[in-house]
Every structure is written in structure tokens, then in C-alpha cells.
């Protein structure tokens, strides 16, 4: 992936939160699922969010990526205040700066591998979407799978398509939610290698949620959550 545009590197902050909290209503009254999370993540940094189930990892990821709104506190992504924006504003920020890799891949079943990778480029109105998507599939070793539909691919292959889709727009920051959670050990290792290699090559910031201590260990920093609070 060449022709990368200039972007923040080194210690420039890509992501910053202040006193971030999320409450939801439940039959027993308001329930705090995330409380007072303040953090900063620099450009090119790799960060793992870990913690037991229900600790608030996915909630934090959703808030960081602007997929959800906090009850309190604010989130700044690439210098833009997500909390002050409406849903469309946050969508535009995601379109410009963010890539995603999900545990359940989220490939569009009616699209081929190539079309799935083209999707974010098409949405952004980028020129040469097909060529760039082909190049991205090439970089994850799926150049022979371009015309395959998701149901014709193995789990590992699907996740590699998802990685290609995440990197094809050259995002500033990539969020990964349990990227190896649905894969066997061998496929998981391969996907993880790919993720870190591409991250290194493209100097993207990587924030990943995982249960896997080994995977977390490959990151520059580990943020541990417990009962909705940062414990490290």
C-alpha cells in the first residue's frame, strides 16, 4: 500500500478520551458499564484492551470508534470531537480515518471478496477502487480468491478479506474486535501476523480488543478493564 498520505506520526495523539462513561437502563435501575476512562493513544501505537467478559471492552471500543455515544465524557479522534457530532458526522470521521476488523468478519454475503474490499473505497468515492482492492487482497495473500463469495471462504480467509478491507482506505486508526476469536490457532496466528505486519508497514494506529493474552502481548501497550474501569 503505497502513496500513503502524510499523517500524524510519533507521539502525536490520535485518540484521546476524558472521563468517559456509559450508563444503560436496566430493570434494576441505571447500570454503569463504563466509568471514568481517560486515555491517550499516539499515532502508530498498538494498544490491546483486555479484561474479563462484561468488563466493558467492547463498549469502550464502540465509544472510541464513534459507533456509540457516551453518557458522560468526550472522545477526540484525529483531532475531531466525536461527542459533539451527530451520527452522520461520526460516520464521516470513520470514513476518513477508521478501519475495522470484527470477530465475526462482517463480510457482505452477496458480494465477492473483491467487492467486499472495494466497498469502503466506493463509499468514499475513491478512484480506481477495483485496482486498489485487488492490491489489498494481494497483500493478504488472497489474489486467487477475488471472485469468491464469503460462503466459499474459510474463516481465516474471511478474516483476511476483512483485514484487506480495513487497510484498503489507509486509515489512521484500525479497531479490531477479537480479530482471532473465531479462528483456530493456526489461522489466528496468521491473521495476527498479517494485522501487525500491515500495521507496521502502513504506520497505522491499532486498537484491539482481545481475550488472548499472547496477542495482547504483541502490542506496545495493554489497557486492562475490570467492571467498567481501567485498572492499568
Amino acid at each position: 500500500m503505497n502513496n500513503r498520505p502524510e499523517r500524524n506520526t510519533g507521539n502525536n495523539t490520535v485518540l484521546r478520551t476524558r472521563n468517559l462513561g456509559k450508563q444503560v437502563s436496566s430493570p434494576e435501575g441505571p447500570l454503569t458499564i463504563l466509568d471514568d476512562v481517560s486515555l491517550e493513544i499516539g499515532a502508530g501505537e498498538t494498544v490491546a484492551l483486555i479484561g474479563p467478559s462484561g468488563a466493558g471492552k467492547t463498549t469502550l471500543l464502540a465509544l472510541l470508534a464513534g459507533l456509540d455515544r457516551p453518557t458522560i465524557g468526550d472522545v477526540q479522534l484525529c483531532g475531531e470531537d466525536l461527542t459533539a457530532m451527530d451520527e452522520d458526522g461520526r460516520a464521516r470521521v470513520r470514513g476518513r480515518h477508521v478501519g475495522f476488523v470484527f470477530q465475526s468478519f462482517h463480510l457482505v454475503s452477496s458480494l465477492t471478496a473483491l467487492e467486499n474490499v472495494m466497498l469502503p473505497l466506493e463509499l468514499a468515492g475513491a478512484a480506481g477502487a477495483a485496482a486498489r482492492a485487488r492490491e489489498a487482497l494481494d497483500s493478504v495473500g488472497l489474489e486467487r480468491r477475488t471472485t469468491h463469495y464469503p460462503k466459499q471462504l474459510s474463516g481465516g480467509e474471511k478474516q483476511r478479506v476483512a483485514i484487506a478491507r480495513a487497510f484498503v482506505t489507509r486509515p489512521s486508526i484500525l479497531f479490531a474486535d477479537e480479530p482471532t476469536g473465531n479462528l483456530d490457532a493456526a489461522s489466528g496466528d496468521r491473521v495476527a501476523d498479517l494485522l501487525f505486519n500491515l500495521n507496521e508497514q502502513s504506520d497505522t494506529t491499532l486498537v484491539l480488543v482481545t481475550h488472548d493474552r499472547e496477542l495482547a502481548g504483541r502490542c506496545d501497550r495493554i489497557i486492562e478493564l475490570e467492571a467498567g474501569r481501567m485498572v492499568s
Binding site: T58, L61, A62, A65, L67, D68, E87, D88, A91, R92, R94, G95, R96, V98, G99, F100, F102, S104, H106, V108, S109, S110, L111, E115, L119, P120, E122, L123, A124, G125, A129, P150, K151, G155, R165, T169, D177
Partner: protein, 834 residues
Amino acid sequence: MTSWSFAVKSLLRDLRAGELSVLLIAIIIAVTAMTAVGFFTDRVGRAIKQQAGSVLAGDLVLRAPAPPDPSFIDEARRLGLDATEAMSFLTMVLPADVDNESNALTQITAVGEGYPLRGELLVAAAMFGESERAAGIPERGTGWAEPGLLGRMNLDVGDRVRIGTVELTIARVLEYQPNQISGGMSAMAPGLLVNLADVPSFGVIRPGSRATYREFFAGPEADIATFRQRLESAAGDGIRVSGLEDAGEQINSAIDRAQRFLTLASLVTVILAAVATAMAARRYALRHLDTIALLKSIGATQSFVQNSTLSQLLLVIIGTASIGSALGFVAQQGLVLLAPATLYIELPPTSWTAGTLGLLTAATITVGFALPHLLMLKDTAPIRVLRHDMPPPKLSSGVTYGIAIGTLLLMIYSIVRDLKLVAYIAVGVGTVALLSYAAGWLLVRSLTRFRGAAGVAWRYGLANISRRGTESIVQIVAFALSLNVLLLLTVVRGDILQAWQATLPEDAPNYFLINVDPEQWPDMRAFFETELGASPEFLPFMRGKIIRIGGTPVDDYVFPGDGGKFFVRQESNFTWQGALPETNRITAGKWWGADYTGALQASLDERVAGRLGIGVGDTLGLNIGGEEFDVPVTSLRTIEWDSLRPNFYLMLSPGEVEDLPQTYVAAVYVPRDRRLVLNQFVRAFPGVTVFDLDVIMSQVRMVIDRASLSVQYVFLFTLLSGVIVLLAAIQATRDERRFESALLHTLGAGRRKILQGIAVEFTALGCLAGTLAAFGATAIGYVMAEQVFELDYTLNPWLWPLGLVLGSVIVGATGTWATRKAVTEPPVAVLREV
């Protein structure tokens, strides 16, 4: 990338993946049905109108008290229309044989070449012999006499009669001529048909003679309409122009019922297609929530999603309208090939009307029933990419149902064009929907008690129905809807058509006896009892005029339209009677009752009342036999004219008018093989006029038969849309079922067990739906027969067992078949898709 090009691309991808199949098929069926019905109703309507023409003897008739301007006929011929003329007058006919001292006041009808332009003349070689279609008109110097005239004058075919100074040979017996019924009752005298060219030689028509002149025109509908306008603007006072819609009440009444059948069929088709569309759109939307969430997570805005949805819908509308209209056109062409001999078919003049209708149907159904579900997509929460169990965005039920119901009402209105009827249908459909939902809920609840009754497959199947709750109820209602249609189409349709045909049974009276003297009753009754074993019913028959309306002389009265003016200008036939005839229904006010002996009251045909602009409580001034009466109108009636019984626009209560000069009219059934009995009858009772109803009866029967055929054809589309509802309902839970089956599979359940569970579930759903459908079909059948078609409906006990069995078998088999993949495909493939 613009939302438009994204919409096109993703639509093509969805098409390729079969995501849109049911949705598109549902809309296409609605469009096909609407355009085919549009074309077809138009054609059948015209075919039936042609029948009406055979009653009038032309498509357009001009009637005048003096010779009309001869330029009318020349002009019509110049325009390419067929034209001919006739005149009729009363004169004394004498036998040429001096030994025969009889004579008769006779209605002479003199006709020109080409008469009748529509319909036919039926003649026989001897009195009440086998009738055949006449080729041409009577030759000069000859006449064709009605049996009544021959009876009255004791003549036979071959004898000669004298009119004025000329002798004519009776060459044929005239059994039927067009116009017989509509003008016949007022023509008291027996008729003789002669050649128009002979009339001057009779020397009986002089300036000032009372004669009626008629000109007949026939040709293409549009030309006739144009020519009619010219005639009406050029025609002077006393001239009346009648078109096909003025043909006999009997045919009109049958046509009216036929049109109600067709309207109802297309209405049901559209409602069903709309239901299927809504179900398919909902499923499509639910299946696309994840994709939309993904798109939003990678940068798609709400307006992008909305615009792309709207663009897709626009493409769907254009595509389905084009395909559906083309299929609609082919479908009605198919009918032309199917029944060329039995149906008069003329190609519709323009294809763009059908195209517009197709586009309109596609747009209304898509916007009304698919749009609300698809618009929900724009509100999909992007966090769904992380939390798959997020509930779908809430549809504002007010907006969704508001749009759907509003659209549906608009569509119903566009089909029936009657606000009152729309309100009636809306309340009816609403009640049926609510009742169905409530019944579905009760049925689902009642299932729980059977769960423990049998094996695991049984328990699994029934548990699924209860677990899916609302979805199961919706499914039951949808299944019930399509089964309902199936039952209506198979059982109730047959019953109603039969009831319709029964209004004109084989032994319906086929002769009217008019001008019966009350003193002849005993002899006449004895005659029929001896000869046919049955005596006819007699009704008093008097002639009179309406002279005042609400106290205002008719000459000063302001009528709502021309129809009323014509009605009071001529003498009308009245009757008095205690009991309300079977073929009449009171629509306003109250009937006086069989034993009534009080002050004089009148009951009026509802439509005539409309033409006169009066209602219950208004007073009519009547002149009957020189005596004047002011009578309050106390009830309005509708009359089943297609029953072909003696019926009267104006009926009076018994008592006051019983002693007025009057004759009697009777209707009698004479089997075809006993027709010659009438020969003796007219000789025994020469004063009585006998009217043969066979021709008009066969015309009414033909209208009924043709209408039945077209209704069956139109119902084919209704059936198709019923099947699509069934498919949409099965599809609604298909994904969930596949996933559950795959899970059970992985947990070790055998294929047979899973399939049994699915079969139990669908069969139980079908059984419940079948029960509901049987109730629905009975209720709808009853309402349709009694209220819409005004026919007597007998309950069909077969509906319930049939509903149960059909429901269980059809839904059980189709549902299991459609979900069989869940069992045959490897579970890993299903689970991987998730």
C-alpha cells in the same frame, strides 16, 4: 461514489444473490394482475356491451315522433358507421279472406335493409315451431306475424292479410325481435314485421299520423360516441337517443353483477400482493441490517443510506412495472388464444394506458408497503457491528400502518370509485384483520397444552410456534389469508356463481302473458293446469302517468337529469300488491305488508327515485285511467331485473286502486317440447299477448356464463398472489429455522427428527390457519353473496373440514419443502453464514 450508483450496484448484487425474489415477484404479480384485469375487464365489458346492442338492434338508436332528418343516416354512412331505419305504428289489420270476420289492432314494425344491425330476428315456419335466425328482412309484399296476431285472427303462415289498400302474405311467424322487452310491455297490440319499402303503398300513414320513427347506428365505440354527441346536439324536441347503457334492465342488471365480481377479484389480488410485499420487504430489511450497520461503520451517512434505498425502490418500481405490464399484456393475449370462440375480443386501443396502470400499481404497492420497512434501514445503529443482538430500529407503527392503510384505501377507491363502498370495505377488512389476529393469538395460546402430548419432534415443533409468539400469529394470519382466498376461489366462488345462475333456473318462466282480462282467470288457470300441470301467477297490471312530483306538475318540475324527464313523459306500467315480490329488496322506508288495507302508498325503484330526485316521504301525483291520485312514496326498492320475472318500477298498495280499469300479467314456464300448447292458448284466448322470453333469457345466461369465465380467469391471479403470500410467510422465519436446525444438527439430532419437527410446526400452523380461513371464507362468502351480489347464500358445511385439511396439507407440505435445505445442507455451511 454517489448513492445512486451504489444503489444500482447493490441492487444488481442483491438480484444476483436472489435477495429480492419474493419482493419482486409479489409486486410483479400485482402489476400483472392489475394490467391484465384492466385489459380484460375492458374487453369483457365491451363484449357484454355488444350483447346489450343486440337488445337495442344497434349501438345507438334515435327515436322520433316524426320522420327524422334523412341527413343523419347519410352522415353516419359517410363516417363509416352502419345505419338503417324503421318505423312503427298501430293500424287495423284485416284478413284477406272475406269469410274470416276477425280483425286486430296491430303494431306494425316496418324495417329497412340491414335491420337489425345488432342482434337477430328469430322466425319459425309455423306457430311455436322451431325458431331459426332470419336471413334479412321480410320481402316486399310479405309480413312476419307474431303468434298473438295469428291466434287473434285465426290465421296461419301462408294466409293473406290486408293493411289499408294492400294485401300481404304472412311468410313467417316472428318469434323474437330486438327491443321486444324494453318496448314490448307497452305495446299492447300483437306485432307484424313488414318491409319499410311497402309502407307508402299501405296508404295509412298521412301527415299527423301517430307513428314512431327509429334510426339505428352501429360501429366502433369511439365513432359511435362522437356520432352520438352530434345527434344529440342536432336532434330536435321529442327525439330520444339511446345507447348501449340504455338497453334492457335485465342485461344491465346482469352486467352490473358481473362487474362487481371482476372488481372484487382484482381488489383481493391487490390486497394480497400488498400483504406479500410488506412481508417480503420486512424480511429484506431485517436481512440487510448487518450490511447497513457495516456500511455505517465504514463511513456511510444516514442520507446516503436513505438515498440509496430510495434509488433502489425507484428502480424496483420501474422494473416491476415494465415486467408486470408486459406479462399482463401477454396474460390477456393468452385468454384470446384460450377462448376465441366464446368471447368477443377486440384489441385494446392503446397500450400506454396499461403501462400507466402498471406503473401506478407498482409505485403504490412499493411506496405503501415496501418503503416503510426499507426506510427503517437508515436508522440502523452502527454499533450493531459489535453487538449483533441489537434489536432492529423501531418502526413508527403509526407512520407504517398509516402509509399502508392510506395507500390501500386509495387503491381500493381507484378500483371501486365509490366512497361509501370504500368505507364499507375498510371497516370490513379492518374487522377481519383484528379478529384474525385475536383468533390467531387464542390458537397459539391454546397450543401449549398439547406440547407434552407426543414425542420430541412434536414438542419441538409446537414449542417453536409458541416461542415465536407474534411472528407465529402473523404467520397464521398470512397463511389463513391465502387459504381463505383458496377456499373462496374453490368453494365459495362456485356457490355464489351457482346462486347467481340459480336466479335464472332452467324452469324459470319463459313466457309473459300480457293483457289478461280478470274474467278469463278461471279458464286460463284450468287451461294451464290441464296442459302443463301448473298454473301461472297473475299480477294486476295498469297503465298510467306520473303527473305531479311533490305537488309540482311534471312540466314545471326541475329534474336532476334527462332520465327522469323521459321517464314521466311516457306511460308507465304499475301494479298493486300486498306481498313484496321475492326479487325485490327494500332499501329505504318500509313495505306496507301483505295484509295492508289502509290509505294508498307507493313503492318506487331506487334508481327511478334517483332520476326523479325524490325519496321516501315525497308525494307522486298519478293519473291512472283518467283518475288522479296523490300518493306518498313510503319505500324504495332494488329489483333483480335479471330474474326475468314481471317487475315494476312503481308498485301501489292494495285497496284504493283495486277497482280501477286494469288487466293482469302472468309469467309461465312452458318446456321447449310443449311450446305448441301456446298455439292452442292464443286461439283460446285471442286477446292475450304472449311474449317469448327465451331469447332475452339466453342473453342473460350468456352474460352470466361469460362473466363466470372471466371471473375464473381473474381469480387465477388472485390465487397466484395468495400463493405468494404463503411463500412470503414461509420465508419470514426461514433464516431462523435454518439456523436452529443447524444447531440441532450439531447437537446430534437426526435429519428425520428435525424434519419431523419442522413438519409438525408447519402442519400445526396450517391447521390453525385453515380453521381461521374456513371461518373467514364463510363470513366473506356470506357478506359477498348477501350484500354485494344480492344473492341468497347457503352455508357450505364442507368449508370447515376442507379448510382444516387443505391448511394442514398445503402449509405443512410447502413449509417443510421450502425449509428442507435446513436439513439437507451441512450445518457448518449454515452456521458459517452467520
